[in-house]
Symmetry: C2
Subunit: 340 residues, 2 copies
DNA sequence: CTGTTAGCGCATTCAA
DNA sequence: TTGAATGCGCTAACAG
């Protein structure tokens, strides 16, 4: 029955103010100096009476700029991603952009779907936390020449601006910290390295750092999340081969840390007491699992904010790509890595 | 230098296919039966050659439907919100909508800003996890008659469809569970009730349920997050006045649960051992803080999904508002509420 | 200082 | 079966 009243348009305002659309448009676009006070007042009133808001849709079509930024996140369940997103969102507000947020749920097909979708909404730039992306899709993206920034992960053979963590430095910090606390047998746990550069870089830095200590032995294992049995076995086996009182684990990201803590519980082990533990990514519960988990905290908000700035700089001058940016993490020491 | 190539338009395609825009438009809109196979093939080829994608902006302007849904979340850092968002996002995909996500960071000013923004992008519907919103803004919203659904919280004096939890039932489940496990002194902890209906309902149900047990004493306190000292004092005082071995706490949401766990640690108390604990909202770490936290798990995904469906049904028939929907939670029993 | 005009990319009459 | 013309709401020449 009482259907929605149609939004007022610029013509409605013009009519109500007894003027033309141009003047209203001028009023809206800050060219108010060009308007006589009288007219300005009439327009002002008409706008408020009609509760008029200009349509971004029409504006975008006309100007060819949508002020829309597309964000593709691999796993929004991940706290890291959420924090980065907050940074991006804050930057959007500061720079007058709006965020179209898409969650690919770690599915390549969705990633594909969303890239198409965002592109059809004419986003001016894209921020991507990459999951899969195969050749074909990458070429489409490259071809589109849409301003684009990757977060955290690179994509192989894909020339694109990246914002993320100083992985080498971070892994080194964690490793040295454990070494300094007397741990002699270190196990670096990550999801399958595959071609994920962050995993690879962290592992490499781990190995390299371990090599600085002649008396320390460093190993690594690749385990999928959601394979608790396998993880448990891996831990057991590791402890069997080394003196448990000198063992410590480095988890390559927050999700892995969570899995490790669960697995240790399942094995009846307590980190910080029976075995050392430190992990990438600070989480809400880091302080309260067992004796507190030592973490390497990433400047997530900063990363997100910078990613948007980077995209914007590409939007402004579409010839030059801004430099990659990598930020330092902060070691947060807690009980899990205290000497046993 | 090598500036971005402009997107191909429908005219480009028409030209390339040697036809008019109308036919291309028909091709795009599933009226392919009306096209001769030959023409259809030419269009097909032109589209793929030019890598053409219709502009949603132009389409929206023309059709008066943007297929955009606005989502306003009070605190995206909150795991509950994120999960609900996942549900909404999944539903959007299923129903062919796109999500414009905004995080108000619990600031009323931002809420206001974003509602304007979303409205200017002509979203067809709004899903809101309310924070503040004052009279004035509410009236604007009501006046806009935009299809709208609230999540979790209601807004006072604001007639709007709500999707959320069966708060009464849920609080009852938690309370009865603790009572059944022999706890005699129950403390219900929430952020300031103010006019937040979920807090009020949970508290009321708690009181009502406690009243069913003659030998059980139920109290409550309202404490802001980020006031750990105050919370600590509150806990100490509660334990002083009751036999600690019969004490248990109910935290009114996930954030509060986190605070309580932290506070207990600070007091040197362990939940499940020195004091009972159960809380609303399941979180990633619920299983691994201390002996595991007993929680009332909300069907978050479901809530989000239903919220979108609800909005869509309003979009379709803008006269009738769909009914509110409240879902049951699931009690997840863990060590924190075992008999001491 | 102000109004008229012409599109932005598309879907939709209407006519052929 | 097809295409030309119109207009969605707005901005930006271009006149006055």
């Amino acid at each position: 029955m009482t259907s929605r009243p149609p939004r007022a348009t610029i013509s409605d305002v013009a009519k109500a103010a007894g003027t033309g659309k141009t003047s209203v448009s001028r009023y809206l676009n800050g060219e108010q100096q060009l308007l006589s006070p009288a007219l300005k007042a009439r327009i002002e009133q008409a706008i408020s009476e009609l509760n008029y808001r200009p349509s971004q849709m029409a504006r975008s079509l006309k100007r060819g700029r949508t002020r829309l930024i597309g964000l593709i996140i691999a796993d929004i369940t991940n706290a890291y991603s959420v924090e980065v997103m907050c940074g991006i969102e804050a930057a959007c507000r500061d720079y007058g952009f709006t965020l179209l947020m898409c969650n690919t749920n770690n599915e390549v097909a969705l990633e594909q779907y969303y890239i198409q979708l965002l592109s059809s909404y004419q986003v001016e730039g894209l921020i991507i936390n990459a999951v899969g992306m195969r050749e074909e899709e990458l070429n489409q993206l490259l071809q589109s020449r849409l301003p684009m920034t990757l977060i955290d992960r690179k994509i192989d053979n894909f020339e694109c601006n990246v914002i993320g963590l100083k992985n080498h430095e971070a892994a080194q910090q964690l490793t040295r910290h454990l070494a300094g606390n007397g741990f002699k047998s270190l196990l670096f746990l990550s999801e399958p390295i595959a071609s994920v550069n962050t995993r690879r870089e962290r592992l490499e830095a781990f190995r390299q750092t371990v090599a600085e200590y002649p008396d320390i032995c460093g190993e690594n294992a690749e385990i999928r999340l959601n394979q608790p049995e396998k993880l448990g076995e891996c831990l057991r086996e590791f402890l069997r081969r080394h003196s448990p009182e000198h063992c410590a684990i480095i988890a390559a990201n927050g999700s892995m840390t969570l899995e490790v803590v669960k697995a240790l519980r399942a094995e009846g082990l307590e980190c910080g007491k029976d075995i050392g533990l430190a992990g990438f990514d600070e989480m809400s519960w880091s302080a309260l699992a067992g004796p507190g988990i030592t973490t390497l905290k990433q400047p997530t908000h900063q990363i997100g904010y910078s990613a948007l700035q980077s995209v914007i700089s590409m939007i402004k001058q579409n010839d030059t790509a801004p430099a990659d940016q990598f930020f330092s993490g902060e070691l947060v020491v807690r009980g899990s890595s205290h000497p046993l």
